[in-house]
Symmetry: C2
Subunit: 355 residues, 2 copies
């Protein structure tokens, strides 16, 4: 069955908010809502050979995608995967080492760029698309009629960061150095990733994703000129291209730590929604960003982990700032592993009780 | 000789700019202008037992303070020291391990707070104040009549970050967790550090510092409520108290990665100048910050390290945004160790040639 993507499903609160409606109480979901803080996730994870095996096993990945929906009834499920599955699908080496995070061969020259193979993409992402299909079907089968399925990718700059550094970094100095020292190579890498990201997200939508999100976790390390070139411009291109094929599928950008660049992202990219990170003042962001762009955020994940008055006050502050405009309640960054699941339940309860 | 601190020395470009004058070409100095990228620094450093010994040897520390002035003729010299010399002076353990950064005993409870001993401060900072005196005298003796001497401290929040984590961190999660979980303890630590910082900076001014700067390197990790409580409020208190004693001595705040909170810092703290980090759009910052507050920044240190077109274009962009208002040319973060000194010379040449 081909899904009709020309109409907005206003019966799903997330899609309505991203379509411009000031739904109240706002739809709610959390970044990394599927993950290590959930015992049922740890049980599945323990049965997979490694993290990549988990991401490429549609039955397991779809199950993990659905777990937090069953527990908390979120308004969105998000495909369980990792932003580095895209370079993996392009043939770039990838391993996840316990407690160390991702490890990749550092890409710092034209030979490294030439080794990426876009022709591998379609084949390599097959299991991930199957996860999307199963998760979407699972939501329907289990009666989660109001829960939308979000597909996602890393934004080209953040994916490039990991590829160039060979893993995480404090300040991504090698990445920024390459951007200054060899702008042509850096630009070619961003271009290649941008095209691959478009193909990857389009395939997710065709498989059943009802909205897509682009995670640009390290956008905040860039000086403004580089930010415009490697965060804003690729996002604009991704949105424009996806919109020609799927005009009704909303795109959420998340340029983390964009700070005062958030306004540019709202004005110049065409996104339907913008993720707002923990450090941003949501009230200031709401004033910077036109009301046609939904905001999504931004409770501190550590306030959620601590709970008690910090959680109550944090939820209150976010609700106050998000009220009266298209808004999606979320964290400002992902759920941290030591978060007690009952704090998440309390968060959802508080959001849904918003008067 | 007691120095008269009630008049602004308008013959020093840095002080004139911080006093509200739109000097052009702008005064220029660089964060970490004294340091490992200079061979003459490495020679001195090799002769000191360790980094703390260097910071507490007035002859060596004053010499290191003056080295970049002799080489580049900067408009400011900044006391050579470290922001963690304040907790050290309060009796908190501190060691610098090669390639690892600072190591401190983590402070996470009331007992840790109780072990801090403000009565040690005056005695412990004696050698640092002697460095200030010698550096000031050295500038005069060597004919650097237009170069102002800046004293500095870490801002309370950033100093607290290192004390609570026990060193550096990717996201200072333990610090933010403590701020949520035990606001009373956290607030008491910030209060103690605020008072100690005031005493420390006042002593530096009395010893000859002509301006002071507060480095809040990790301000950007805080959610807005915590930012207002632990970045904005302490800075306001420090400025207000220093101004009662030294009304003509300018105070520069540097809430790094403040993003959209920069406007609040400009409006609500009373600072004379604000450091702007690399990620901020200086033109946007200039629109956010009233012209009575000088801006200081914000070339990417990596553009300086790479040199060539990246340096030329970067200097040009910063100059364009800083023009027509009180402005001090600087980097957006410290000079990195692999920076070729000739790039610094080129930077100074380009700034001084600004038409």
């Amino acid at each position: 069955m081909e899904i009709d993507r020309t109409v907005v499903r206003q019966d799903k609160p997330l899609l309505a908010a991203l379509g411009g409606a000031a739904i109240w109480p706002p739809p709610v979901w959390l970044m990394r809502q599927a993950g290590r803080y959930l015992p049922e996730y740890r049980a599945i994870r323990a049965g997979a050979a490694d993290f990549i095996a988990l991401c490429t096993s549609p039955d397991l990945a779809a199950e993990v995608t659905l777990q937090p929906i069953r527990r908390f009834g979120f308004d969105a499920a998000i495909l369980f995967s990792d932003i580095l599955m895209l370079p993996w699908a392009l043939g770039h080496g990838l391993a996840f080492r316990e407690g160390e995070g991702p490890v990749l061969p550092p890409l710092r020259d034209a030979a490294g760029l030439a080794r990426l193979d876009p022709s591998r993409l379609t084949g390599a992402i097959t299991p991930i698309l199957e996860t999307v299909r199963r998760a979407r079907a699972g939501l329907a089968a289990e009666g989660f009629d109001r829960t939308a399925l979000i597909g996602f990718a890393g934004a080209p700059f953040t994916v490039a960061c990991y590829m160039i550094e060979g893993g995480g970094s404090k300040d991504f100095a090698a990445t920024r150095t390459l951007a200054y020292a060899d702008p042509a190579l850096f630009g070619a890498l961003i271009d290649l990733l941008t095209e691959a990201t478009i193909a990857y997200l389009a395939a997710q939508v065709a498989a059943g994703a009802e909205a897509v999100m682009l995670f640009d976790s390290w956008a905040g390390v860039l000086a403004p000129d580089l930010f415009r070139a490697h965060v804003v411009a690729p996002l604009r291109r991704i949105v424009a291209t996806l919109k020609t094929r799927f005009p009704a599928v909303p795109v959420i950008g998340f340029p983390r730590m964009a700070g005062m660049m958030l306004g540019v992202c709202a004005r110049d990219t065409g996104v339907d929604g913008l993720g707002v990170d923990t450090a941003a003042d949501l009230a200031v962001a709401a004033a910077l960003v036109p009301a046609r762009v939904a905001l999504q955020g931004n409770l501190d994940p550590l306030a959620l982990a601590v709970g008690g008055p910090a959680l109550a006050r944090g939820v209150e502050t976010v609700l106050r700032a998000g009220r009266g405009r298209p808004f999606v309640f979320n964290l400002g960054h992902g759920v941290v592993p030591h978060t007690p699941p009952e704090h998440v339940a309390e968060l959802v309860r508080r959001v849904r009780a918003a008067g």
